[in-house]
């Protein structure tokens, strides 16, 4: 569905460019290493819009609509499932698949509800529920799917519940507090519903419902003392500090760097990236046909074998 600003107007040229470029990136091969570097006079919201474009292109793929079947679970697995009213998720421990005691044509599953304790068991027919294996901290009571389900529904109807109950790390955003604020900023709208990039991107560790057991994107702050190795499908480095501090810790076939030209270190970081290109003997690429760079922006891209 069409994304607008929170005032209902269409996205400005530079913002629409990043959204569409994100769509294009989803078609890039994962067998090579590709780098895309943008510089601009102010880079706020650029990485968020690029991420939305990329992820929304991937929504039509089977893995986003896949529902885990009951026979993938083992006794004792932590699982989450959608409540009957489709508004919240519950948590428990899988026991077994059984026939329903009331309707022999339905397959049910037995589970141990984490709120009611290990000794309580209930049975439900499964065909209205979504299941996910869950590895987060245990929660005790039904949790809303998202703090902004209306917006996610408007943006991705048919898919919203699947997106809200899925976990994967499609994109990693690497940036400081400003990147985090971009992702949380309620300035997008879709069919009259207002929301933030995080409502679509579902970024781990960002605000959703207090805890976020299900996520589609990662966020790494380069100022964090412990820098973890991250493996993802698309890495978006927002700002020079992100490149300087996190470059060697992220493995991704597609990397995008967004640099604010007022950032004092942008030139120095660009020189670092040119060295990356030289060492990898990457060959330069142009923008895809049909996409033209907005005035005031710079772009360079290269590709090398992985």
């Amino acid at each position: 569905m069409k994304l607008n600003t929170s005032s209902g107007n269409g996205l400005p040229e530079w913002a629409e460019f990043f959204r569409v470029f994100g769509l294009y990136l989803s078609t890039e091969s994962q067998n090579n290493d590709s780098w895309h570097v943008f510089t601009m006079p102010n880079s706020r919201m650029a990485s968020a819009l690029l991420g939305i474009g990329y992820l929304s292109a991937r929504f039509s793929e089977p893995e986003f609509q896949k529902r885990e079947s009951l026979d993938t679970f083992s006794k004792g697995d932590q699982i989450t499932w959608l409540t009957h009213d489709r508004k919240s998720i519950r948590h428990g421990y899988f026991e077994s698949i059984e026939l329903s005691s009331t309707d022999p044509t339905k397959i049910c599953f037995k589970y141990v509800d984490s709120e009611r304790g290990p000794v309580t068991r209930q049975e439900f027919a499964f065909d209205v529920y979504r299941f996910s294996k869950y590895s987060g901290a245990e929660f005790k009571r039904p949790r809303p799917l998202s703090s902004n389900m209306d917006f996610l529904d408007a943006f991705a109807p048919e898919l919203s519940i699947d997106l809200a109950t899925k976990s994967s790390s499609e994109i990693c955003f690497i940036g400081d507090m400003e990147t985090r604020l971009d992702l949380l900023s309620n300035e997008l709208s879709c069919s009259g519903r207002i929301g933030s990039p995080d409502d679509i991107l579902r970024v781990q560790e960002l605000d959703d419902v207090g805890e976020s057991p299900h996520f589609l994107s990662l966020y790494a702050n380069p100022a964090a003392r412990t820098l973890n190795d991250i493996s993802t499908k698309l890495a978006i480095y927002d700002g020079s500090a992100a490149v300087r501090k996190q470059l060697n810790y992220v493995d991704s076939p597609i990397s995008v760097v967004v640099l604010d030209r007022w950032d004092h270190n942008s030139r120095e970081v660009f020189a670092t990236l040119k060295n990356v290109q030289m060492r990898s003997r990457g060959s330069e690429k142009k923008l895809p046909t049909g996409l033209s760079l907005p005035a005031g922006m710079e772009y360079i891209s290269w590709e090398s074998s992985r």
Partner: protein, 500 residues
Amino acid sequence: MTSRISHTTRAFEVRNEAQFSFEYVGEQRIITIRELWQQLRSEIKIGGGIEEYKTLFQYPISRVQGRLSALPFRFDSVECDLDQTINQLLWNSKSLDVDSPIKKIVVDICKLLFELLRIGDNPILPAIINSLDSETLVVIKDSYWKTDLQKFLKENTAFEPQVINVNRLADASDHKKIIYLGSPALLAYRPFSEPDRRFLLDPKASINHFIMYPLGDLKNIPGIIDGSGVGRILNYSTPVVFKIEDFDQEPTEWSAISSRQSSTKSDTEISEPARFVGLAGGNHIWISAKPDSRCRVLSLSRSGELEIEARQTSELREGEMIVERIGKSSPNLIDSVADGLGAKKFRTSQAIWKNALQKRISEVGNVRAVERILESDFKVEVLNLRHWAFDPRSISPASQNDFVKTCDYLGLKESASKLWKELSEIRSLHLKAGNEILLRLQKAVLKLSIDQVRESDGMLLIEVKDYGSLGIFRVEYCSDEQLNLPISEIDVVTSNSEGI
């Protein structure tokens, strides 16, 4: 509240629509002074680049022409300081030979300065008045003049424009119009590094008006990526007369203040690396440049409250606000807080220990001689005698064994045990004080409001329990160079007029 998307959109619009205009100020004497100054520089270089001549002539003339060519103060004002500069230059030139080419140039420059002094009126001011409106931001080169200029423009124009120095533009919001005082080359110049052209590549205003003398040939403003097309070419209506490399080594007012300090090396003083930081309100500080040293910076938490953050001094930036003690006579913060926690009653023991060491060093002659005695005759293992005797931060040796042996040498054998116990108490209370200080500062800062900080003109006082007043100062200038200074000169705010 403006959305973040709007901020970025606005930045694109402003930079894509930006216009540049260059208004030349027509005081020929100032251009002639510049030409003469260049000849002076050549003569000094030909003569061997004697540092004394640079200090006595080249740098003062460079500073005064910086004021004349980029600030609107009257030529006969205290700010331009022509009177004193002329007198000083002529006095200093008396030591030169009559036929010295340096003397001749200096005298010629002084004649022109004297003419300007008599004229009084500075043509930059009417140029500003003609261009200024209620939405204009004024940008200058040297942060030293920010407060004075703001006051001057309020008194001499119909408006109260905000004045910032060019290094602070990165944090500035978009404006309709910016008046720059000085040429693009002057404003972009950075000593020992590439010119900073960001304000030209991505301006913060649609209208960018330079009131300038034609100094510096900066025309080409490239983007970050070669051949990207975002670069600009500046088209000056009058040819510029000097090349950008002519700005090399031009000192600022801040560097004139920092150069008054000299590096020290003595047997008894403890010295450490420090770097110069210019502060608001006509103050400065030398902050510790040791690799692990930290300063306390006022910042905003995620919830929008004021808080104190411990920052590495190497990461301190212009525009930030630091918390420091005011004046050399004010006590050390950690000592004061530790005394409040109970260390005061043990200070007599600390004084006995240090006085005994200092007395013996004085009697023997020097630190090294005493160290040799302690090593050979008393078998003291880890010697750091200079710090034990003269560094107020050093409480005692780390090893009790070494302490007792040293006491033996000093004639304090009988009281060694008691002294060690009390000095250990001081050490433990200092550690406690270190943790306590941040809490107390945080408590003091919570009594301030963000509005108070904004309206403070860069200087505030806070009260800290068991200490008294500490100052919070905005950083106006950070030097990259380091100097070895006595620790008594480090981390204490001093007025710029001290030492003149």
